[in-house]
């Protein structure tokens, strides 16, 4: 009896001690129209939430209380209440939203609408459209500069990174990159923005001041045809020293020295790896594997895959926050 008491007491104590490092990950499953919730303490799936059709881009709000998920075939962005773990609201996006970026204050949302060659600007609080910006054919990747002044949008068939001034909402520069640019990521110090080109097979590095490509990363994996190497998601550590690039059907994550732009290692993950997110303490990186229907967990310091977690069908996007919401 006392034994059981002690055990349960210990469990309570353990549970109380854990929140400091416990995070939750939300994974969008493109095919099954669900979002999988993963507890990063136990690395287990704790909930599967039904959402709209074809969920892809997914992001926590700044306060961590909600998760936005773009449901492309429903032409909207749904809002998941993290406490309730269900969809509670919908934001009005343009047609076929895929990826989006939230400004620093969490008040304005910029959405890439693939079907319309536009970027839609949404007031999060008022749930209202503030405006639209005409961009190239098939807008996709979205990233805000660290100071929030410049929004990058990539267009997949135009093959450009558009630099948009967030104050005037005008395009101020267009930088040609390789074919089918899909994702954009800034270094925290605003010294570089990285653009992945899925069909081109490269990552272009742009100097945001010069607005020109200054370097290009290619990937070479012995035994793999270069056509199979299709860079998509990019993750960068806060110190700007290490980057991870998802290589799609090459089933690997490239580890890149973000200073020298040299690939240092390839990590074998699941099939058709798409996107990724760090745990807030940057100890782990979680990546979605589209075809194998799972998520790989990478130990960032050791640069090793330590775990695979089964999720829904065709996992695509991922976002991670603290359990208590920040």
């Amino acid at each position: 009896m006392w034994h059981r008491c002690l055990l349960s007491g210990m469990a309570v104590w353990l549970a109380a001690a854990t929140p400091a490092s416990a995070f939750i990950a939300y994974v969008s499953n493109e095919k099954s129209n669900t979002v999988t919730v993963i507890d990063t303490e136990s690395w287990t799936v704790t909930k599967t939430i039904k959402v709209g059709q074809r969920p892809r881009g997914i992001e926590f709000t700044r306060d961590g209380k909600f998760v936005f998920v773009a449901v492309g075939d429903d032409d909207s962005i749904q809002v998941i209440d993290v406490a309730k773990q269900e969809v509670v609201d919908t934001l009005p996006s343009g047609p076929d939203p895929e990826l989006f970026a939230l400004d620093t204050d969490g008040k304005v949302l910029y959405v890439a609408n693939e079907n319309d060659n536009t970027v839609t600007i949404i007031d999060v609080e008022k749930r209202a459209r503030l405006g639209e910006i005409q961009v190239g054919v098939e807008p996709e990747g979205m990233a805000l500069s660290p100071d929030g002044k410049i929004l990058i949008n990539t267009s997949e068939t135009t093959n450009m990174a558009h630099f948009i001034d967030t104050t005037t909402r005008q395009i101020v520069a267009n930088v040609l990159v390789d074919a089918r640019p899909r994702f954009a990521e800034f270094k925290r110090d605003n010294s570089e923005v990285w653009i992945s080109s899925e069909i081109g097979g490269t990552v272009s590095i742009i100097d945001p001041a010069k607005r020109a490509v200054t370097d290009k990363i290619s990937f070479n994996i012995p035994g793999l045809r270069s056509e199979a190497i299709q860079p998509v998601g990019i993750g960068m550590t806060k110190d700007g020293k290490t980057a991870f690039v998802a290589l799609g059907p090459a089933n690997r994550i490239a580890v890149v020295d973000a200073t020298s732009h040299k690939v240092t290692k390839y990590l074998l993950v699941g099939q058709r790896v798409w996107h990724m997110a760090f745990t807030p303490d940057e100890k782990y990186l979680m990546v979605t594997n589209g075809v194998s229907n799972d998520v790989s967990v990478i130990d960032v310091a050791a640069q090793k895959v330590i775990k695979t977690i089964q999720v829904g069908e065709l996992p695509w996007g991922i976002t991670i926050a603290h359990h208590d919401g920040h």
Partner: protein, 393 residues
């Protein structure tokens, strides 16, 4: 004073991109024969603007990109009537546009190519699938966007072999294109390890493709035509002329699937293709043209996009610069096929995956897994470098 002037000039140079000078005009011609091809199925009757509609969408796409680069693309259509001389029309069109997308029969295409040889006009073959145009009859001023018969045949054969449907009952039509397709399929069978257990010819005795009591007759004819065959896994039909193949599914004597010109068909594109972002181009196409996108539409779209892509990379509308870029090592194009498409430098054929469709859905995409190649798996489809008969001068 001079220093001030220099400063003013350099300032104006720096500012020009913002001042929006006149855009570079890039004209693309579309040259095809008038008239609609015969089809057995009403739902497959091509629209009058088949092909052209794809080029039109690509021109819109090119112009969306072009507005950021100060380039403007236009498309001009020329349709040849029965007796019109192709060389003359091509030359006239080449006087107005530096690029011509051609949807012409093989002999017409060669006449056009030879007539334009010294003008520097670039022809992009979007319509003709004849292997000889890329082999013994290849031309340095023609880039081939359409796949070849042998690429289509190889794509189908790889899948049938992967499926372990290796014993083929082979039925060939009596017209010239049917025989060419049959040659490509025979070669594919040998290459990938399928066996033609028997070959039959379906004689075209003439007659209408549509009659009021057609179905009753066909239902009696087709089982009889296919009976007493040796054991086989799949009936493969070569009927480019659209005389009989579409009558075969569900009517064979033995219950067997049909492939080739009916049933499971290899093609460069289909309205049901939705992988790799294709849903976006399908939506754009339907919005612009109020109909589904065909293989010819896609081939013309790709041709016009190749010009747009090269123009944006070279920042030029000059046919010579564009042509050089397209033929060079840095060219590749994204065309919703899951990987980049490049040109075979030995005969200027665009490498591309081939879809296998059943009329409503995409069943598979070749090259199939396991068919390996030292350069590109796409080169397992069609004539490869060591086999080529092409000599580009």
């Amino acid at each position: 004073m001079i220093r001030w002037l220099v400063a003013a000039i350099s300032l104006s140079i720096a500012a020009t991109p913002v001042l929006a000078a006149d855009p570079i005009e890039i004209g693309i011609g579309y040259l095809g024969r008038a008239g609609v091809k015969a089809k057995l199925s009403l739902v497959e009757l091509p629209a009058e603007n088949d092909g052209l509609a794809g080029a039109r969408l690509a021109t819109e796409d090119n112009n969306t990109t072009g507005k950021f680069l100060n380039q403007h693309f236009t498309l001009e259509e020329v349709r040849l009537k029965d007796n019109e001389d192709v060389a003359k029309s091509a030359a006239a069109l080449a006087g107005r546009t530096g690029f011509i997308i051609a949807d012409l029969p093989a002999d017409d295409l060669l006449k056009a190519a030879d007539a334009l040889r010294d003008r520097g006009t670039l022809l992009l073959n979007a319509g003709a699938i004849d292997d000889r145009l890329r082999e013994q009859d290849c031309r340095p001023n023609v880039i081939h966007v359409a796949p070849t018969r042998s690429m289509l045949a190889d794509a189908l054969a790889q899948y049938l072999v992967w499926k372990q449907w290796k014993r083929w009952l082979f039925v060939v039509g009596s017209h010239e294109p049917d025989k060419l397709y049959a040659d490509a399929l025979r070669r594919a069978a040998t290459r990938f390890g399928a066996k033609i257990v028997q070959e039959r010819t379906f004689e075209d005795t003439g007659g209408a493709r549509r009659t009021d009591s057609g179905v009753t007759l066909i239902q009696r004819q087709m089982p009889v035509f296919t009976q007493q065959a040796p054991a086989y896994d799949v009936l493969v039909a070569a009927d480019e002329s659209e005389v009989f193949a579409s009558y075969l599914p569900y009517r064979t004597w033995d219950p067997r699937p049909v492939a080739g010109s009916a049933g499971l068909v290899p093609t460069s594109w289909h309205a049901a293709q939705d992988q790799w972002g294709a849903i976006q181009i399908q939506n754009r196409f339907v919005k612009l043209n109020s109909r589904h996108m065909t293989a010819l539409d896609m081939q013309a779209w790709t041709a016009a996009r190749m010009i747009g892509e090269a123009a944006s990379r070279t920042k030029s509308g000059d046919p010579k610069a564009v042509s050089e870029f397209l033929k060079g090592p840095d060219f590749s194009i994204a065309a919703f096929k899951g990987r980049r498409l490049t040109l075979r430098d030995w005969n200027l054929q665009l490498r591309q995956p081939i879809l296998l469709v059943d009329g409503r859905m995409v069943v598979s995409v070749s090259p199939q897994e396991g068919f390996l190649h030292q350069v590109s798996e796409l080169d397992t489809l069609g004539a490869d470098r060591p086999e080529t008969k092409c000599k580009l001068q």
